[in-house]
């Protein structure tokens, strides 16, 4: 393959994108699929498509990635006809991650968050995740979910309201 000498190597353009979006995408796909292992495959497919497709204006990148990831996940889920609850046993825990005690705490907390989320309708769960876990804006979420921006705002508003009511500890507001 001939390559222009001006194009720097060895770092590929896709690596910073991987770095930034790999985990949020897996987390998001896992929340749709319920299975981190399949989620990983979905995310790989997503990045492969990006690799084949190439140029994307950067403001289009996040919506594109999440949309492709979402479609692929839903597609597979439809094919598999299966809904599984998150099984934490599947998670790999790396050594640089929190120690056992801290992990347990995190596990309990997120377990709690997860349980509370279960009480929300699916569409609210999804937009909350996209907003707070994947750090996407209303506009981006609207593009990904094909919901109107106003609708996204409404779902997030309602979701936050319900979660606040359900939240186990009283909320401290520091003014």
């Amino acid at each position: 393959m001939v390559r222009s000498s001006a194009v720097p190597s060895p770092m590929s353009w896709i690596e910073p994108i991987l770095e930034r979006y790999e985990r949020p995408l897996i987390q998001y796909a896992a929340s749709i699929m319920g299975d981190p292992e399949t989620a990983r495959d979905v995310v790989q497919d997503t990045f492969l498509r990006l690799a084949q497709q190439g140029a994307l204006a950067s403001e289009r990148l996040a919506p594109w990635l999440f949309t492709v990831c979402r479609n692929r996940a839903l597609d597979i889920k439809r094919k598999e006809n299966r809904v599984i609850a998150m099984n934490e046993e599947h998670h790999e825990v790396k050594s640089e991650e929190p120690g056992p005690a801290a992990r347990l705490e995190i596990k309990e907390k997120t377990h709690c968050l997860n349980q509370l989320l279960q009480r929300l309708p699916e569409n609210q769960r999804e937009v909350l995740r996209l907003r707070f876990q994947c750090d996407l804006s209303y506009r981006e979420i609207s593009e990904i979910t094909q919901l109107g921006e106003g609708n996204v705002g409404f779902l997030i508003h309602t979701g936050i309201k319900t979660l606040r009511q359900l939240w186990p500890q009283p909320l401290e507001v520091t003014k």
Binding site: A6, E19, A55, R60, I84, F132, Y138
Partner: protein, 741 residues
């Protein structure tokens, strides 16, 4: 202002435009309630964000998966596809080559994990976009000569004086060649990289540029344009360009079209070879030599349409043929400007037109909904990649021999066996004809009571997409044998895995009563040869069916069925070994040869009471039974009625207490608590309110998960128990709802 306004939440989350923000802030000054709502929401949002980010980290991509992606990115494109516009404007790039700077600058900006950092980054980028898209034609009148010229210009080529950067953007110098060739060897140390050419005076002459950076073309320009470095040419605001020569064979240079202007024209004999990138706007190819340069035999001929607005239009010239680049892709579209002929050709190795794979679908523009072409394109790309990655003749299989034994342990010929997948790619739709006869999924034992099955070393999903042949790949499976006079047989759990240890470990979460820790790992250990499928003697399920008054119900259909998923969450896809009978005139039934494992029962009519093994009557449907290990017969008596007995009713009103007609009230009704299957968890009944706003529903179970009420013009209200069924069901009775606008 109502504190239940989503706008307040949006404000707290920083989602509003400046204008909306100011409006809200004015409101907040006089509304302490709304103010504290905003404060609380912002605090809670912070908490939520923290909690979400602390969620157990998911798996990362495997190193091999990452490598595959990077490799794909490197081989499928030769250029840095990152937004070219950033090259021109990013501040502080310094002495490094612009392309290098992108890679270096980017990670530090986007690696920042805090939202603020990210927002700053985005803002910065938006500003960059704005500068690019709003720029007009630079005028010489506004130029200032004293600004340092970042370009080293060969003076002898430049007859006309003003070689000056424009004031509006000092890093955007404007050149006018004034009837002479313009040769701009962009210095390697130049931090600025965009060159705008007032082409009205440059027509007929050549312009060349070395070094990194962009050339921007304004107005029409018919001279020759030579570029020899990366990220080079932008055909500009409505203008045209031809005779673009860029790069050489060793270092092809892409031509990029940016900016939101609708039209840029490539006319004439362009010979650049680096591919064409259109990030927005339209690119039109006209003239008898019109083509999109790039040899189809190299990877360099790529036309990339970025952004939904990027299009390539064919020219009005008769029979204009955009010679196909190697890849025409991206998220833009290929549009034909008028009713001339549009040809899409694919050339084979002998340079003859051919279509060897892929499909070209021609449609009238009106017929193609926006996005359809894009989806098609993405699917095609994926399919091509799959085919390339998995040539059909390279699929690997593992052959496994099975032997069916009768209850006395003797191999049995002529037994029908079918393969059932339960996980991952293993699942097959039994109602699909292609599966009911497919040789990969259906078998009959030979004279020795044996048959051979093939399991692939691939994901069936991929395989099927390429070969259109359903074939078991990775996943979990059972062989199910049916034979008259027996209850049938089920093989050990068959696990066909891609990897080894981790797959083995992950099995523990999936085992149910059919698996019991015994399984054959097809791609790991050698399975026992042959794998024995044992036909079993069954048990008998018998009993009576009555109505509420105790009268026998004749001709009631009673069935049993086993479910390989019985304890998994999926709940369907694994039904097997069905048996069915009708009650006699006395309302009695008897089903023999029921496989001695957990089974489901079903009855026609609405089943509301059950008595199992002669015990007490229970006011519910008990249709999930497990025989004891020694039990030969189970007695199940049931009461069925014709109409669902459980009454739910009520009234829907608005905030003023006025009835809301035509409101839809939906109940989630389950047969089991907690419901065991997806279907049971997703069963709904609904009713519409009448003119008085009243509704009523009779349902077959008291296990109601919740309600959703919606009416045109009102907010949708929902009230549901937890998905994990830790709450209690809503009992029959009246439920009134008040809707708000």
């Amino acid at each position: 202002m109502n504190i239940d306004d989503p706008k307040l939440t949006a404000y707290a989350l920083g989602e509003l435009s400046a204008e909306e923000r100011h409006a809200i802030e004015r409101e907040l000054q006089n509304n302490p309630e709304a103010r504290s709502f905003v404060e609380e929401t912002a605090a809670f949002a912070g908490l939520l964000s923290k909690e979400f980010h602390e969620e157990i980290p998911p798996l990362e991509l495997a190193a091999t998966q990452r490598a595959e992606i990077v490799n794909e990115a490197v081989t499928s494109r030769k250029v840095l596809p990152f937004p070219l516009r950033r090259i021109a404007w990013a501040a502080g790039i310094g002495a490094v080559a612009a392309a290098l700077a992108i890679v270096a600058a980017l990670p530090s900006a986007i690696r920042s994990s805090d939202r603020k950092g990210l927002a700053r980054y985005e803002e910065n980028e938006k500003a960059i976009v704005a500068m690019t898209t709003s720029d007009g034609i630079p005028t010489l009148a506004q130029s200032k000569a004293e600004t340092a010229n970042p370009f080293a210009v060969a003076a002898d080529k430049l007859a006309m004086a003003p070689v000056v950067p424009a004031t509006a953007a000092p890093d955007k110098p404007t050149y006018s060649a004034g009837g002479k060739d313009l040769d701009v060897p962009v210095s390697a140390t130049a931090t600025q990289s965009l060159l705008a050419l007032d082409s009205s005076s440059a027509s007929g002459h050549s312009m060349s540029k070395a070094g990194n950076g962009m050339l921007k073309e304004v107005n029409s320009y018919t001279g020759e344009t030579k570029t020899t470095a990366s990220n080079t040419v932008v055909a500009g605001v409505p203008g045209s360009m031809d005779k673009i020569i860029s790069g050489d064979a060793a270092a092809p240079v892409p031509i990029a079209k940016i900016g939101t202007d609708k039209l840029a024209v490539l006319n004439g004999r362009n010979t650049y070879t680096g591919g064409t990138i259109i990030t927005s706007g339209s690119l039109v190819i006209t003239g008898e030599n019109a083509n999109l340069p790039g040899s189809p035999n190299t990877a360099s001929g790529i036309v990339t349409l970025g952004g939904a607005r990027g299009t390539v239009a064919s020219s009005p010239a008769p029979d204009a043929t955009p010679a196909p680049p190697k890849t025409l892709g991206g998220s833009g579209g290929l549009a034909q400007a008028d009713d001339s002929t549009l040809k899409l050709l694919r050339r084979n190795a002998n340079n003859e037109p051919s279509i060897s794979d892929g499909v070209i679908i021609a449609k009238n523009r009106e017929d193609t909904p926006p996005g359809a072409a894009q989806a098609l394109d993405q699917e095609k790309t994926r399919s091509r990649a799959l085919k390339a990655a998995f040539p059909a003749d390279k699929w690997r299989f593992r052959e496994v021999v099975f032997e069916v034994h009768d209850p006395d342990g003797k191999p049995t010929p002529g037994v029908k066996v079918f393969l059932m997948g339960v996980e991952r790619d293993g699942i097959r739709d039994l109602d699909d004809d292609t599966n009911s006869n497919n040789k990969n999924w259906n078998f009959v034992t030979d004279a020795k009571g044996r048959f051979t099955a093939r399991f692939g070393d691939f994901r069936s999903y991929d395989y099927e997409e390429v070969t259109h042949d359903p074939m078991p790949g990775y996943g979990g499976f059972y062989m199910v044998a049916e034979y008259p006079g027996t209850a049938g047989g089920v093989s050990p759990y068959l696990k066909n895995v891609e990897k080894t240890e981790d797959q083995l470990l992950s099995l523990s979460g999936e085992l149910n009563e059919w698996q019991k820790g015994e399984f054959a790992l097809l791609n790991v250990a050698k399975p026992p040869v042959p794998v024995v499928i044992q036909l079993k003697r069954g048990i008998t399920v018998t009993g009576s069916v009555r109505d509420l008054e105790g009268r026998p119900v004749a001709n009631c259909q009673i069935g049993t069925m086993h479910d390989l998923h019985a304890t998994s969450h999926t709940g369907f896809g694994g039904q097997m070994l069905p048996a069915r009978t009708d009650t006699d005139a006395n309302g009695n039934y008897r089903i023999e040869h029921v496989y001695p494992n957990r089974f489901d029962m079903d009855a026609s009519g609405v089943w509301i009471k059950t008595r199992v093994r002669g015990g007490p009557w229970q006011e519910k449907r008990i249709d999930d039974l497990t025989p004891g290990s020694k039990e030969k017969e189970i007695r199940v008596d049931l009461v069925v009625v014709k109409k669902p007995p459980y009454h739910y009713f009520g009234k829907v009103t608005d905030a003023q207490g006025q009835p809301v007609p035509n409101a839809e009230v939906t109940l989630g009704v389950s047969r089991h608590w907690p419901s065991r299957t997806y279907g049971d968890n997703h069963h709904f009944e609904n009713a519409t309110t009448d003119a008085k706003g009243e509704y009523e529903l009779y349902v077959e179970s008291r296990l109601v998960r919740g309600f959703t009420v919606e009416a045109p013009g009102f907010k949708r209200e929902t009230q549901w128990v937890l998905d994990d069924y830790s709450g209690t069901p809503y009992k029959p009775g009246f439920y009134d709802f008040q809707l708000s606008k």
